[in-house]
């Protein structure tokens, strides 16, 4: 009996010694993976429950975005991506595209203004301070400190320290040592609460002039207004009686539409430069992006700038605003596709078709405006006086304003397609009206054939013509 059971035990197979190692290793591996899973679940939960952790409180008006980045690493990391400069969409992006090289006619339109010498596509926020300091447009004798207003997160600090009047009246080059940080956190955020805030006096003053109260706007409106501190049309007001020198003003007193802004300029006889070709007092429009957007469908549906240019992003359990401000065409899935549920290619082709149409329309207007400048120049050469040329010049000034209003804006018409086409059409109409009036004046001087339009198809040729008119030895345009 005893023997049998002994034998039975011996017959039962037994695990070899090494199998213990294998089993232990397998179980240990499983535990390792389970721990990773547990940590992953807990981290995701933690991220979503605690979106921010203040490691070091931010000082008031702290200009260094890296200091804010200690507490808000995701926002800061995405902000740093505005350093990327090799992105190109069909018409925009963040590379240093040379607009004058691409379109030499612009040299003719802006003869007499620094824009005829240098005009690059702007790079990202991280380059703002460097790019303005290196720009040839801000060189002696032109040295308004006002040009710093939108280029550095040191501006809110300085505005508080010395006040806007003194800030604007200063010398651009004297402020270079103070303006060491590019556009960053302090430009839009309150350092204690992170609430969006307006740090540029010009926007506050412009809204006050329109009768709007900045304190009653909603958070969603603030998500556009912080951008409207800079991405708008503006001018420098100098008024010795009021003690203002190069004071930054948004021309919104009559409203933010193109006609209201032009009316404001015409009422106050404001002129940016005189184009020496037609001797017409001109206005150089700056990127009226916010004003254009206000007339479009996205503004009507209360979609803010940030909704498309800084869409939400997720990283694990956390959701945050992407501070890599860029063309939505470079991030279609996060921006457009949250409302427009089509494929990326479909969305891109819809946007680009709007931009191609706008560009074509602008090109037609630009051709007419350039021809009008030369027509008036021909009339001057024929002997017409300033009184006779007043009407065509006024028309040309308005035509170029409407053209520039859309041309200098960054959406290439997308921010408000119908408004952009309307103004491009208006610009072409005004320019052609100016040409008809000038043709009649030329006819009175017995000039009935077409003026000899100079060849400006390359940038070099355009620059040479521009220089000849500026220096007073214009080519002969009369046949």
């Amino acid at each position: 009996m005893h023997q049998i059971s002994q034998k039975g035990i011996e017959q039962r197979p037994q695990l070899p010694f090494w199998s213990g190692l294998v089993i232990a290793a397998l179980v240990a591996g499983a535990i390792f993976l389970l721990c990773l899973l547990a940590v992953s679940i807990m981290e995701r939960r933690w991220e979503s429950l605690r979106p921010a952790m203040i490691l070091k409180p931010v000082a008031d008006y702290e200009p260094n975005s890296a200091e804010w980045g200690l507490n808000y690493p995701r926002q800061y990391d995405s902000y740093l991506k505005t350093r990327i400069t090799d992105t190109l969409t069909k018409f925009g992006g963040s590379s240093h595209r040379d607009y004058l090289q691409a379109d030499p006619l612009k040299v003719i339109l802006w003869t007499g203004s620094p824009f005829s010498k240098e005009y690059f596509q702007a790079r990202g926020h991280c380059y703002s301070a460097r790019d303005v300091a290196e720009s040839n447009r801000v060189s002696v004798p032109f040295n308004a400190a006002t040009c710093w207003t939108c280029k550095s997160s040191d501006v809110p600090r300085m505005m508080v320290k010395i006040g806007p009047k003194k800030f604007y009246a200063g010398n651009f080059h004297d402020l270079k040592n103070e303006m060491t940080h590019p556009v960053g956190c302090a430009d839009c955020h309150d350092s204690q609460t992170m609430k969006l805030q307006i740090t540029r006096p010009a926007l506050r003053e412009a809204l006050a002039a329109m009768g709007a109260d900045i304190n009653t706007v909603t958070h969603q409106q603030m998500r556009s207004l912080v951008c409207a501190q800079c991405h708008v049309e503006y001018y420098f007001k100098t008024d010795e009686h009021a003690g203002l020198k190069n004071y930054l003003v948004f021309p919104w007193k009559n409203g933010t539409g193109a006609e209201a802004i032009l009316g404001y300029y015409n009422d106050s006889n404001f002129t940016d430069f005189i184009n020496p070709i037609s001797k017409t007092p001109m206005i150089k429009v700056q990127h009226a992006d916010y004003e254009t957007y206000l007339t479009g469908i996205h503004a009507y549906r209360e979609v803010s700038c940030a909704d498309c240019h800084m869409p939400y992003r997720t990283e694990g359990g956390s959701k945050f605003t992407d501070h890599h401000v860029q063309s939505p065409l470079l991030n279609i899935s996060n921006s457009c596709a949250v409302c427009h549920r089509w494929s990326e290619n479909e969305i891109r082709s819809r946007v680009e078709s709007i931009q191609v149409n706008t560009t074509e329309s602008l090109q037609a207007a630009q051709n007419a405006i350039a021809a009008a400048h030369f027509d008036i120049a021909a009339a001057i050469q024929a002997g017409a006086n300033d009184d006779e040329l007043l009407q065509p010049r006024l028309l040309l000034r308005d035509a170029q304003f409407y053209f520039d209003y859309i041309s200098s804006a960054n959406g290439t018409g997308f921010h408000s397609p119908a408004e952009s086409m309307r103004l491009a059409g208006k610009a072409a109409d005004y320019a052609q009206q100016a040409r008809v009036l000038t043709a009649r004046i030329l006819a009175r001087f017995k000039v009935t054939s077409q003026p000899a339009y100079p060849d400006v198809s390359s940038r070099e040729e355009a620059a040479q013509i521009s220089r000849q008119f500026t220096e007073g030895h214009a080519p002969k345009l009369l046949p």
Binding site: R12, P13, Q14, L15, P16, F17, S19, G20, I23, A24, V27, A28, A30, I31, L34, C35, L36, L37, A38, S40, I41, M42, R44, R45, E47, S48, L49, P51, H219, D307, P311, Y312, R313, T314, G316, G317, K319, F320, T321, S333, N334, A337, V338, C339, R341
Partner: protein
């Protein structure tokens, strides 16, 4: 023959479980590790709210944080008054199909989320589309009796009715600050009195 083979297999199984033949110290070590593994599985089941996945409660979908915005937009849409996530997103032909679909979908989701492969904008997967379409028709049968769309095998209800999850989808459907609270999955039950 087959009886003997079965006995052999049974013996092998018993051997693996009892670790017969291993030195006592090794047996203890392996059992110790196995115990850790079982404890961890229970722990993970708790913190991941695993039991909630057996239910139809919409909060279960929100366990996974990328679904929060889908939850919020569903809440704002008309369907939140009558239907929950599972009414549309899992098959209802029979319970086996339902739980098989939940299991395979859940495994895929947990794989994608653990390895951080989740896309920024969620879209229906290939397998989800026919399920969803069937579920639209399951409730809206009467309406569909009078409707015959050309190419209706190609078209889905939501090609036109694209506001089921309210009109704004995805991440933009809620600002970060206004997200609903996650289902609890911690030690709150033993922390009575602590707010």
């Amino acid at each position: 023959m087959s009886f003997e083979r079965n006995m052999k297999l049974l013996n092998l199984a018993i051997m693996v479980v009892t670790l017969r033949g291993l030195p006592k110290k090794w047996q203890a070590a392996v059992y110790f590790l196995a115990g850790l593994a079982v404890g961890l599985v229970i722990f993970i089941a708790r913190i991941s709210n695993a039991a909630s996945y057996l239910s139809d409660a919409p909060g279960a979908c929100m366990n996974c944080h990328v679904m929060t915005d889908a939850y919020v937009s569903w809440q704002r849409g008309s369907h939140s008054r009558i239907a929950v996530c599972n009414d549309c997103h899992v098959p209802h032909s029979n319970p086996v199909a339902k739980y098989a679909f939940k299991a395979s979908d859940g495994l895929r989701h947990s794989y994608v989320f653990t390895f951080r492969l989740e896309p920024q904008v969620l879209d229906l997967s290939k397998g989800a589309k026919p399920v969803l379409q069937d579920n639209c028709v399951r409730c809206h049968t009467q309406i569909m009796q009078t409707v015959h769309l050309p190419d209706s095998s190609q078209r889905k209800c939501w090609d036109c009715h694209n506001n089921i999850h309210s009109s704004v989808h995805g991440l933009s459907s809620s600002p970060a600050q206004l997200r609903p609270e996650l289902p609890r999955a911690g030690l709150h039950s033993v922390r009575k009195g602590v707010q």
